[in-house]
């Protein structure tokens, strides 16, 4: 039975994905070309091993992991 607002979850997920894509675009647009290419290369590597992060902020400061 279709209830009111039965697509709420799907719409919320779509909206969230859109918001995240906009944030990626905004971050990339405010990044120099070399760092942008570095981010693209990192994303291509990372999507095969998503449990590894590129950068984590440790209590003692930043730490580059990948």
């Amino acid at each position: 039975m279709r209830r009111n607002n039965h697509r709420r979850g799907k719409n919320a997920r779509r909206t969230l994905n859109l918001a995240m894509e906009l944030r990626v675009i905004d971050d990339a647009a405010h990044t120099p070309l070399d760092a942008r290419a570095e981010a693209l290369a990192w994303l291509r590597r990372w999507k095969h091993k998503p449990e590894r992060t590129f950068w984590e902020v440790q209590p003692t400061g930043g730490q580059r992991l990948l």
Partner: protein
């Protein structure tokens, strides 16, 4: 039924159609008056910010976006359509879409780290002299000499 002319009315009409709701149902669920929705849709009225926030929260739309649609805020400075045409950004977004949903927040945060790192000033390593070290050193010595009596 009169045509809606304002952007807010078009947004509200789109959300109602998308969720399959009538004006009265949306008014009850969002906690606003049905007459208010009718005025937004048919007369182009812009309600109070509190009402806008209730509608934004109910339709799960960012509050700032609804304020922008209602005309309370100027349009976005960087429209995404312009920068998104650049090849690297387009490739980045296409790669991002292939990431599983549960990992996307991590990817967003990590891509933001690239931006933050690029915004940081270059770090001078131990033993590496900055380009204008002589001028900076002279300026510092001059300031020290002036401060001492």
């Amino acid at each position: 039924m009169s045509a809606t002319t304002t952007a807010l009315g078009r947004w509200l009409r789109r959300e109602l159609n998308r969720n399959g709701l009538t004006q009265n149902e949306a008014a009850v669920y969002a906690g606003v008056a049905s007459a208010t929705l009718s005025e937004i849709l048919n007369k182009g009225h812009v309600p109070k910010v509190e009402t806008l926030f209730r509608l934004a929260d109910y339709f799960q739309t960012p509050r700032l976006e609804v304020l922008r649609v209602a005309g309370h805020l100027p349009p976005a400075v960087d429209p995404p359509g312009d920068v998104a045409d650049e090849p690297l950004i387009r490739e980045l977004v296409e790669e991002f879409r292939q990431v599983p949903d549960e990992w996307k927040p991590v990817a967003v945060e990590q891509i933001a780290q690239f931006r933050r790192l690029a915004e940081l000033r270059p770090v001078r390593m131990v033993g590496e002299e900055p380009a204008d070290s002589d001028a900076a050193q002279e300026g510092q010595e001059g300031q020290d000499a002036q401060e001492q009596p």
